[in-house]
Symmetry: C2
Subunit: 411 residues, 2 copies
């Protein structure tokens, strides 16, 4: 088990970093996140030590997660490439998100914060925040976008089982919520939920937010994923040649792929996304607001525009208009390749994996599977060691699988 996080900020020139964040006031987030978390997000050190108690918590949750060589899949594809799956799906909350949420909650608790108030759309961030809060002893309130609150009942139940108070957004509890309800925005959005959370936290001492993705410290805290892969491959005496992960906000990709560069500087990095939200492949690399309302200071990153209206899709975790500034800069520099894939083709790859290996992966991960399958079966390319991030389990997203089944298995 790794004893320190890898700092992905060190992959960028300090001048580039300074430019990305030139509109940001470092003090502005201080009330929102624990001081230590803010410091980590601004660090230029190559690595950051993980407190012993947090190492133990990671272990209790099942870290390191398994790295599986999917030999049955390889045989089916008829490839001479090796395909390794990093299985974040086995974490008890069902996704990689706990590793970052837990660190944020743990530092918050140590600094005397008492309550987490956070927003969630489809629920993966909320589930991770709820579990992290429970594990470190913070109370937890979650504003869940109402359309998901109504449709994603199991994620909501999981948050409640972990002890969180889950409410639909827009709510009647905030001015912002009441304003949006009055304007007819009953379904809500992550931007509205965020506004409500800020309002709730603003007047509350001891409160803190847990960030789901995008911010540099979420990549830092997620770097346990890539550090584990590096060590697992070292034990197998395997040199990875391609690493594939999906990008929504960018924390899973950044935490998975970037830490491997230390040991494997020639590693090819492939970031996948949906053709429906082609941030990295068709977005603009420029300054844009990270929030939907355009109130937060702009960051330099790939974006489809902060007013981009994300279509409905199975991979709710990819429904975001922009991507991590660090990941964006590395895509812009050509260090990371970006690929957009069709949702149905991606889910077909996931269904194939389920039938060959039993693994039911999250819809987000399906895009990376498809990319790996194509790379492994491309007759123009030599065999390679390909590592794919399975960022979460699809057991609570089985409706995405059902959409492929003929005749449909569910109404």
């Amino acid at each position: 088990m790794t004893r320190s996080w890898f700092n992905p900020r060190t992959l960028l020139d300090p001048a580039v970093l300074a430019d990305i964040y030139r509109h940001e006031d470092p003090a502005a987030n201080a009330w929102l996140f624990p001081e230590t978390v803010i410091e980590h997000g601004e660090s230029l050190d190559a690595s950051v030590a993980i407190p012993d108690e947090l190492v133990d918590l990671y272990r209790q949750l099942g870290r390191p997660t398994p790295l599986l060589r999917a030999t049955r899949l390889e045989e089916h594809l008829g490839t001479r490439s090796a395909i390794y799956l990093k299985r974040e799906d086995v974490l008890p909350n069902g996704s990689f998100k706990i590793s970052s949420a837990l660190a944020q909650a743990w530092f918050g608790k140590r600094e005397g914060r008492t309550v987490v108030v956070t927003e969630t759309a489809a629920g993966q961030t909320g589930v991770a925040a709820a579990l992290a809060s429970s594990l470190v002893g913070l109370s937890c309130e979650i504003l869940m976008v109402r359309s998901s609150f109504d449709r994603k009942q199991l994620r909501r139940l999981l948050m409640a089982s972990y002890g969180a108070d889950v409410r639909p957004s827009p709510s009647e509890d905030t001015e912002a919520g009441r304003r949006f309800i009055a304007a007819g925005h009953q379904d809500g959005s992550i931007a509205i939920a965020t506004s409500e959370v800020f309002e709730l936290l603003d007047g509350r001492s001891g409160g803190m937010n847990i960030a789901g993705s995008l911010l540099d410290f979420t990549l830092l805290y997620s770097s346990v994923i890539g550090l584990e892969v590096t060590e697992q491959l070292r034990q197998l005496d395997v040199v990875p040649e391609v690493a594939v992960g999906c990008v929504g906000g960018g924390s899973s990709f950044g935490g998975f792929a970037l830490p491997m560069l230390d040991a494997h500087p020639d590693l090819r990095l492939v970031a996948t996304e949906s053709t429906a939200i082609p941030t990295l492949t068709k977005g603009r690399y420029d300054f844009d607001h990270p929030d939907g309302e355009g109130q937060a200071p702009p960051l330099k990153m790939f974006s489809l525009g902060h007013d981009f209206s994300a279509p409905k899709m199975h991979a709710s975790g990819l429904r975001y208009h922009a991507a991590s500034p660090i990941v964006s800069a590395l895509v812009h520099q050509g260090r990371i390749e970006a690929e957009a894939h069709d949702e149905t083709e991606a889910m077909e790859a996931a269904l194939l994996l389920a039938r060959l290996q039993g693994l039911v992966v999250s819809p987000e991960s399906s895009y990376s599977l498809l990319s790996a399958f194509r790379r492994a079966t491309d007759p123009e390319l030599p065999p390679a060691n390909i590592v794919v991030l399975v960022s979460g389990s699809g057991h609570l997203d089985l409706d995405a699988y059902a959409s492929l089944l003929t005749p449909p298995a569910a109404p």
Copy 2:
């Protein structure tokens, strides 16, 4: 990874075994199950070799599964006992059942069977059968009790994702189904589904059934669980003193607890069940029919009567009137202690575990958790090394957790 299964039949005197099965015609099941499976179920050898290909399949699914020392739980309980959790919940189908289903399907495929037709109630057996069939290349048809078919949509979707054709029972496809529908038994029952499956298999060449529990070979094939625990504890240099698992049909308990006796003959074995279906604690040890209709030859075992009407409960896997003849005999001999617990208290133990360790276990496992908590906190008893079987994941049973939440988190 173990290379052979432990044969639990060798724990009984051959004369006792012969008595248990004295009404059975060994040839009677030959059409229903693969020959090798039948042979294994009648074997008196101490162990049975696992074919290499099956060892590899077990590995691909994530065996050995983790053994977790739940130190956070221990601290919360304030106990000096050590509590180890054997985590079958991480298997991709969500429960221990795949290890037995896979062996049955693999031997069937080797013998030229082409299609699995099997019955399922809440769906754990069906999900395992669907995945096993997909992995070895058999087609799979599942008759699912209609009340579960309508309510347990996610398990049904999971079976369909694994490629199975899932139909509600009673169905219009069989005489038995039509008879029960005409008689107004629309909701179905596992007995009705079994009748339909037998009828469908009777006229079909190449067909086979996958048994979910009860039969000796299901305990044999599940013995990988206990063999793994033995090896995992050996590596930790820990001698287990108490092993706790729940009993429905008895295959998880038999596969988990009994193989440990070889290395640890003094191990205390505790079988848990619900006070709502107190087979081992209040049932009768005598001959009874394993099926609900009373047509199959009687076996000597603990039973509440084959016409027992099981109440609705969260732990659907425990809704069975009898228990494995092997487990029953060992309970009768006093080698296994049986305990019945209240459903709500058991689910409260599960909820506590979720909040302390993140693990959301199946409702079946909650009874064993409660037993372990009580043992660990009993001031009259010395500290002990306690191993608890977590037989499956509760992610698809979150309604059981919701029932404890106040105010209720779901309608």
